[in-house]
Amino acid sequence: MKAVSAEEGIAMIPHGATVMVGGFMGVGTPERLLDELVRQRKSQLTIIANDAAVPGRGIGKLFDASLVATITASHIGLNPKVQAQMMEKKLVVNLVPQGTLVERIRAGGCGLGGVLTPTGVGTIVEDGKQQIEIDGRHFLLETALRSQFALVHAFLADYLGNLSYALTARNFNPVMAMAADTVIVTAEHIVPVGVIAPDHVMTPAPLVDYLIANG
């Protein structure tokens, strides 16, 4: 793990990159990194996230600045700008059931090619997907998701990069921290090694590439 500034962290991300962003309706989202993406105007991004938040908050800021070309998410209904950009064909939206989305990301981080889920069988979600029958039950083959970057927000990060999360701000963060080539983390508090007890580490330090320093 290396400590960098938000400016340095975001400078590593090229235009057009695929980026996972932790958070759920803006809760547990690395706001400082999103602000910096907007400031450096990284555009044509492919975003993977649970939802599109709301304008002015979390991932919503990326749509305010029209920086996203494609988003894969389970819900966009509370961000009218995303709906508008989709209708104007400026933005491609891939809607994925929430449990399938997180499990595809989990698979991507766990060395699996995909998962078999009953969710979506018999609905428009099954279009174009392989179906597999096991013991008389039907499943969709949902392929794994990975990304070049994951932007993760933790509650505590120690000097090594061990992370713990708080309350409902955990959500997609630890799963995404497994599934990207480069993991960049912001934390509410940076603390000495040992403050997070081994049993309370939710993301082990070797998974974290960059921790955004206070500054």
């Binding site: 966009i76 449990g99 399938t100 997180v102 428009i124 979600v125 999360y165 309350l167 409902t168 997609f172």
Partner: protein, 216 residues
Amino acid sequence: MDPQTIIAKRVALELHPGNLVNLGIGIPTLVANYVPPGLNVFFQSENGLIGTVPIPEQGMAHPMLTDAGGRPISALPGASTFDSAMSFALIRGGHVDITVLGGLQVDAKGHLANWTIPGKMVPGMGGAMDLVSGAKRVIVAMQHAAKGKSKIVKRCSLPLTSLRPVDLVVTELAVIAFHDGRAWLQETAPGISVAQVLAVTEADLAVPDQVPEMAA
């Protein structure tokens, strides 16, 4: 009583001690208001919490403790938090006893459509498809009709949420159960006759000999 209150109170009677329950947005959220204190029902919020409860008063909100809509909530003693993979493992894995969801249409076989009106409303399915596919019991809490049109239809014209039929639909007029591939009129609301329910329901309902009045 207004329709929403009638529905929420009746659904609350379906919750039993020890149940793990997921409440959707809208009328389902109101169900928690009518659960008797001390029933020890566990409410799950799919963004990663079992043991949700409203915040005690304004000013007690924490930015890292919200429901799935991003609104502030609190956590009961004995609550637990987890990531989204665990949350949906609970949902898809059959560990959630009851999910209560809103509905746009339910058809005669119990198929639910509740996530999109193509061309008009494309919000995304969020967790709805996983909840209907995986919860042990699926209850739909919705008004009987919208703009004068029955929401209990012969066949859903809107995209389905799941092929798995729901177990129960509670409206302000009736309780309808789905089993044996059919829709059964199980109860009618106080002051509402069987004939009145049938007259405003597009789907064919099987009517047992006895149709008791909806408890509340």
